[in-house]
Symmetry: C2
Subunit: 329 residues, 2 copies
């Protein structure tokens, strides 16, 4: 049987949470078995990728410099939120539809948010300090009582909505600010305000959770004045992209007691340099960009890709389309 | 107006989570305002307590040695689960009805359980080690994916049920073993097995949460063979009483890799001695018996006491009665 579309799996550069070449080979075999009309190619080097793209209908991965793919109709990004550099002017100008992996990791990332939030809610960083010194002492660990708290999500996407669902049994007030409140409101988030409301909402929140992707608009969007607006008892969590927060300003705010603690999975520089002051703050929990890690994540990525392959072949709309190829989401 | 009952607030010995004398004085004032028929006395020394008890109808606190209270109808214990020594033979033989504070801290304790469980679910103890060494490294932190997990509660009381409610949005399989399955089944716990099922359930659980009180039956009930039955990937949490677990056996099991980690708020010796090996294990989270701590706990205690005062005066059944004054729950 003739194939009707060619799909190139581009062996991508090593990056956080991106599957290895071995995984790509397995995916290719499964896709060939599942979609007989699809020609599936794994391309390992930039030269191979460039050659295979020339007559490709679809591709998964990161496009190399100098690509030329006049027939390309679909590009599947390997990340939930591709970084700013992913969306080159060439992609923006090309008619190709770009999809991302949003949704695939929402439960893991939202669970990571909850792990940070509950650790602070129950004073675990405080007691960890006692544990290191073998000191059985209660002290006065701050307790965040979620039932009486307001949780503010900056960005009301899938992660925020999933975390809000996890929060429901505790019964906090859950609100968000978002650039597109009309399309993101609903579900377990009580109210989604327009992005303009950020500065008026920050002083009301007991926990602030940053979930926005890195775009030209969000780069460095949280800086000193924002942290100064937060309650001194508030906890800040960044689970989105490090580049959206001026980390030195956050460190200053934590040292000045302008907020009570921070749980950080992403940083404006990754890996976070060993001499950065943020490592040494007692009221910070640091994880190395692992919020998306989970046991069955490669299988989920495969299912998302296979579903979009079926949609491509059937002429149906693709899932998880990036609607603005300049902003990147 | 004449009072119809005398209530003695006994200034109790300092103990974890027990309110101070100042709080008792506030409670006494509020009770006098709320229940005009009640004579409310705060007794500060053992001598004062003994003297006041002679014609008391009700008392809050810990009875001193040598008490004599022929009219005592109600004793309110100041703890959720009074320790084994609280229930003396004299209390067991006396017709007094004993009530405890169960339920008052359920949300805080269950949130502490969730903080421990999610910390292990997302590898926070693993990354905390990296943080101390300023190492931004992913390694292979174990991830407990709750949606695919079984959570086993030992003891299906209020804390277990509340934690099971918090767990619901993640969708794990939740089961329990309990000495009284017929009265504790239901709610968010799918199945409550008889206590005999413990050894058959332990090998199936990804997280084991110990919530049972300290009684002659539960003392040292978890020992080496129980930990050996757990999955090597399982997490153990003790949020009940330290005396129910042979801590040295747990340490052995953790060192031998028989289970993946432990979150411990209670210990067979408190304060936990500084030279105990458990302090130094990398896969253990230690908090100093603080799971019940929360911002409004004294107010909740007061409301429980005031409610029972109203019931006493109205001749209605008291709340949170200890049904077995020998076993103590």
């Amino acid at each position: 049987m003739d194939t009707t579309a060619k799909f190139v799996l581009m062996d991508p550069p090593s990056a956080p949470g991106i599957p290895s070449a071995t995984v790509l080979e397995t995916w290719a075999q499964e896709l060939r078995a599942e979609c007989e009309e699809l020609e599936v190619v794994v391309a390992r080097t930039d030269a191979e990728v460039l050659e295979q793209l020339v007559d490709a209908d679809a591709a998964y991965g990161v496009l190399p410099q100098g690509w030329h793919a006049p027939r390309l109709r679909w590009l599947q990004a390997p990340m939930a939120n591709p970084p700013l550099g992913y969306f080159t002017p060439q992609i923006a100008e090309h008619p190709v539809v770009v999809t991302n992996m949003r949704g695939v990791y929402n439960d893991h990332i939202a669970t990571h948010v909850m792990a940070f939030m509950l650790a602070f809610a129950r004073g675990l960083p405080h007691y960890a300090h006692g544990q290191r010194n073998r000191e059985y002492r209660r002290g006065v660990a701050p307790v965040l009582h979620l039932a009486d708290s307001t949780v503010l999500f900056i960005g009301a996407g899938g992660v925020a909505h999933q975390a809000a669902r996890y929060l429901q049994p505790w019964g906090p007030r859950v609100v968000a600010v978002d650039a597109r409140p009309e399309t993101t409101a609903g579900g377990a988030i009580g109210t989604v305000f327009d992005a303009d409301a950020l500065e008026s909402q920050l002083p009301l929140a007991d926990a602030v959770v940053m979930t926005v992707p890195h775009t030209p608009d969000t780069e460095g969007m949280l800086e000193r004045r924002h942290f100064a607006l937060m309650k001194p008892t508030a906890v800040f969590i960044n689970i989105g992209r490090g580049q959206t927060v001026v980390l030195d300003d956050l460190v200053h705010a934590l040292e000045a007691g302008e907020l009570a603690g921070a749980g950080l999975d992403v940083f404006d520089q990754e890996p976070l340099p060993p001499d950065h002051r943020v490592w040494t703050l007692p009221n910070v929990l640091i994880t190395p960009h692992v919020a998306m890690v989970g046991p069955d994540i490669d299988q989920r990525r495969y299912e998302l890709i296979a579903d979009n392959c079926r949609r491509l072949l059937a002429g149906e709309p693709l899932q998880f389309v990036v609607t603005d190829k300049i902003l990147g989401f």
